[in-house]
Amino acid sequence: MGEGQEDQWPLYCFVFAVHLSLSTFRLPEFVSVCKVYGIDYDYDKRCVADLDHLPEYHDERPCLFVRLPSDEIAKTIGDRIVLCRFVIRVWGQGPDLSTMIADLKRTADSGVLEEFRQSKFKFQIGFHNSKAGNTVKKQLFSDLTSVLPLEGKISLTDPDLQVDVFVEFRDPNKELDPEKRKMPLHAVCGRWLVAGRRDIGDQFSLKKRAYIHTTSMDAEIAAVMANMGCVKNGDLCYDPYVGTAGLLVACAYFGGNVFGSDIDPRVLRGGEKDDPEITKHPDRNVLGNFRQYGLTDRVIDLFVCDGAQDPFRSQGQSLDTSKAPLLLDAIVTDPPYGIREGARKIGLRPGKEYDSTWFRKEDHIPMTVPYHWRDILEDLLRLAVRHLVVGGRLVYFLPYDVENFNPAHDIPGHVSLRLLHTSVQKLAGQFARMLVTMEKLDEAETEKHRSAIAAEEAPRVVASDGIVWGTDSAAYAVEDEHKRHSHV
């Protein structure tokens, strides 16, 4: 798309949930969903003020103003964004109500609203950070009525046209001047197009889920992760630490066909093999969660496997999809880093001898050794590089210690994976977790990426298999290096 063409696109306002713990998830989710529908949205270039008074996007403010090709596309995108409340086709906007009304009048005078002259309509007024009184609302209703060319009936229950006004005020916790608190920061009005998917959190709530565990992912975050993974109909998705499959349920809901594995067969089955509870509750297992939402058809396979191993058909080293057809479109996962669940992988404990009769025994539980978070990440990155299609996505959570972590330097990387987004959720104490979204590169891009890393001011270390670590990344370790070695 040429620059000029995008200027002609209509303006839309996406009103986001003000969800402070997830504020840095909103823009990456928006950009990823745009990508699903073929819109390459470079938000650094595009989501900026290109009109008078239009506020730039800010993670702590509710509105994102963007230009998109059509109402249909804006609706399709809004209809998939979990953190979006609703989408407005902008007819007027400004730093205060009178500027907004003047702008709306210009739009009405240009004649583009004539198609709505006979529509059944209603007005909806929303205030952010303020409970504006009835006088303000009455004034707004009368202004809208005088400016808009609407002659149809008012219908509160079944309107063909809903005109929304959304007025943002300053955060009362930050703005101490009572006069300024009364002044809007920005006001926008236009046609309400579609609600975002705030309902997903309820629809898939863990409270109503057949089978959960202490580490099951919150339904809302799981859906956001599936969106970051650009999961769409027919995609193949894999979670190597599937647990109770919260992430894969979200991927399947958006059309993905899913593979999941876990080191512990009891987790997949829902209990010990002979546990009478299993027959009593046939849905209290991973498959039951898919059955609950009518998504069983989306499950390709669930299997028992160790996260340290790569169970998929080998594709060779080539990144060229035409030579070696690759398998996965998205890997969406929340690896066990040993904070809530001790991370384990199969291995012989020191001083133990392997007994070859173990493997044949039905009831043998493989011996495990601790699985260091650094190895977990490296294995995950290698898995992504080996099996993702070019442009396929790796989405995973990385917990860290806020005081010692430097996002520019400490996120583990791979020359064949581009870091697209990082979204941070604060956890208790000095911990946080970062949702990392990466994209698989082709060979040419990989070489460019490799040179870019070498040209960094403090170049990171690139291992022979392409894994990239900051030179002092060990500093943010939840467990330190010393412990890592004492385990083995």
Partner: protein, 123 residues
């Protein structure tokens, strides 16, 4: 799609399918035909492995001996066979055997256990 992942095992694919002789060792269910998904899967399938699976599971229906270039070149009945094989047939009890090293991966209650013996792992 799965392969034997023992380090150094060169012939780990395709895993030989051994369905248990017990009753209900194989389950067939009905799922919606999703041509979009099949088309996406088509280029990711190893055709030899697929035919092998078809035979081992004793599935009726036609499939060409070599894969055509495009999914659309399969006739309607071949497309149904592919759908049935990929989506509707499940081995509930049995073994997946590595053609290279002979390692057997058990399948119990429809869940393959791909874990490796403790000594086959480095480090």
């Amino acid at each position: 799609m799965l392969q034997c992942h023992v380090k150094g095992c060169k012939q780990g694919y395709p895993l030989q399918i051994k369905v248990s002789t017990s009753r209900d060792a194989k389950q067939e269910s009905e799922r919606d035909f999703n041509p979009e998904f099949l088309e996406r899967m088509f280029h990711r399938i190893d055709w030899t492995g697929l035919l092998h699976a078809k035979e081992a599971l004793g599935i009726e229906g036609d499939l060409p001996a070599t894969a055509p270039d495009e999914f659309g070149q399969l006739n309607a009945s071949e497309q149904q066979t592919l759908h049935h094989l990929l989506m509707e047939v499940e081995m509930v009890e049995g073994e997946l055997v590595c053609p290279g090293c002979g390692l057997e991966f058990r399948v119990r209650s429809g869940i393959p256990d791909m874990r490796l013996p403790e000594d086959s792992l480095e480090k």
